[in-house]
């Protein structure tokens, strides 16, 4: 225990910096993932068979292969075409991965909005895009918050795999600290502590957001 506390005190500045990089990496990848998710959710529910096919292929490939492989394939694949920093390569790989799951979340919540909502909107003369933007999506987003929060937490933890590209986030730092000090258990436990705190902060923010938007009231019909 004393080794743990001592190591913690010696390394806190470095771990804090690494934690911040983890947060940055996660945040950037999730913003991109939301855009990707939204686009592919629309592909998936469109009437166009070609777009539906593309969306299904993308989702199947991502869900059907390990994330670590996807990171490597993207990293070495893209590196042959354009030069990306480790940060952007990692963020993109994570975004492409989370995007598939987020697409399914959006598809599910959009389709969970009662059919009558779209019909009412269209019966008032709204075009499909206006009805989507003004009526369906605001309701779908609210319903998406709990599963999205879940996906965000998974994304935060998955960002540890980007350490394998040499990006100095939390996991990589714990690895190098373990190698340097030979305090393997302590080093990894400290990283675990940082991850746990990050996830707790994340959870808190999402819960606040849910209450603010009073998710439970959406779609209630008396």
């Amino acid at each position: 225990m004393s080794g743990f506390i001592q190591l913690f005190q010696e390394t806190w500045l470095g771990f804090l910096k690494a934690a911040w990089l983890t947060v940055e990496l996660t945040a950037v990848s999730l913003v991109i993932a939301i855009v990707i998710g939204l686009i592919f959710a629309f592909f998936r529910i469109s009437d166009n068979k070609f777009l539906v096919g593309i969306a299904k292929l993308y989702i199947t490939l991502i869900r059907g292969t390990p994330l670590i492989l996807q990171i490597m394939v993207l990293y070495f694949g893209i590196a042959k075409v354009v030069l990306l920093s480790d940060f952007w390569a990692g963020a993109l790989a994570l975004a492409v991965h989370s995007g598939a799951y987020i697409a399914e979340i959006f598809r599910g919540t959009i389709q969970s909005i009662e059919k009558g909502q779209m019909e009412a909107a269209r019966s008032l003369g709204m075009s499909y895009p206006i009805a989507m933007r003004r009526i369906i999506l605001p309701q779908a987003f609210k319903r998406a918050i709990p599963p999205l929060g879940n996906q965000f937490i998974i994304g935060l933890k998955d960002s540890s795999l980007v350490g394998l590209l040499g990006f100095p986030e939390l996991y990589l730092l714990s690895q190098s600290t373990a190698a340097r000090t030979f305090l393997q258990f302590e080093a990894y436990a400290i990283a675990g502590l940082y991850y746990l705190v990050l996830v707790l902060i994340f959870t808190y923010i999402i819960n606040r957001l849910e209450t603010r938007l009073h998710v439970e009231k959406v779609g209630v019909r008396t």
């Binding site: 009412a120 269209r122 019966s123 206006i130 003004r134 019909r221 008396t222």
Partner: protein, 245 residues
């Protein structure tokens, strides 16, 4: 200008292998109130939904206010602006206040100024007796109140005709009256209306004409007293007996 508001000719509609409308023929005059009755599955709701193209018929024509509508060519959004619809389950937008429900389409479809839309919305809310509820959310209202807001929402687009698809079927019995009162006033004001309902008392009082549908066709029609007192068709007699018992 012709005096016909809606003209339906030889309309056919199928859902998969289910042939729901089998050659419907119906002409609704301006200011006329037409009530559609018939057993469930007879096609009355489908016929109504074809008039604002929520369902697209495979065959036949629909003319609205003298214009023949071609679903492939014409801008259906433009046409729906002039055809108001009230649904059985109200379908109010739960994330918008009462006032926003009503002003949404005038602002985002007709591009009216916010001020103008709000003023007219308040006028309509007064008409349906809910002016004090403008800041409420739909879930804070009773079913009857929600349906009255839904009527105001449809009226906000200044439609030429209003379609009602079983507007009181989802309501508790004690809330039916307030919705029917609003509809009666609307009829008195000269609105052209097509109403699917099981409220025979209301039909008797308000309808100019009652249409009896059975198995995807109109089998009988006439003024309500005539049709209710002396139904010609055996199927109409049986239906009325069942529903009036």
């Amino acid at each position: 200008m012709s005096s016909t508001m809606v003209s339906i000719n030889d309309l056919h509609k199928s859902f998969g292998r289910l042939h729901v409308l089998k050659g419907c023929e119906l002409h609704v005059e301006k200011n006329e109130v037409v009530v559609l009755i018939g057993a469930s599955g007879s096609g009355k709701s489908t016929l109504l939904r074809c008039v604002n193209f929520l369902e697209i018929a495979e065959q036949g024509t629909i003319m609205i206010d003298g214009l023949k509508i071609q679903s492939g060519k014409d801008d259906l959004n433009k046409i729906r602006e002039h055809v108001g619809m009230v649904f059985q389950h109200f379908n109010l937008f739960p994330h918008r206040t009462v006032l926003e429900n009503i002003t949404e389409a005038p602002i985002y479809v007709k591009k009216e100024s916010k001020e103008k839309a709000i003023n007219y919305a308040r006028e309509l809310l007064e008409k349906v007796g809910l002016l004090e509820k403008e800041l409420c959310y739909p879930h804070q209202l009773s079913g009857g109140q929600q349906q009255r807001v839904a009527i105001a929402r449809a009226l906000a687009m200044k439609p030429k005709i209003m379609l009602f698809d079983e507007p009181t079927s989802a309501l508790d019995p004690e809330l039916v009256g307030e919705v029917l009162t609003v509809m009666k006033q609307l009829a008195k004001d000269g609105m052209t209306m097509m109403i699917v309902t099981h409220e025979m008392g209301f039909a008797k009082e308000v309808a100019d004409r009652v249409i009896m549908m059975h198995d995807g066709t109109i089998i009988e029609q006439g003024p309500p007293l005539e049709l209710f007192e002396r139904p010609q068709h055996e199927r109409t007699q049986r239906f009325l007996n069942q529903i009036l018992k």
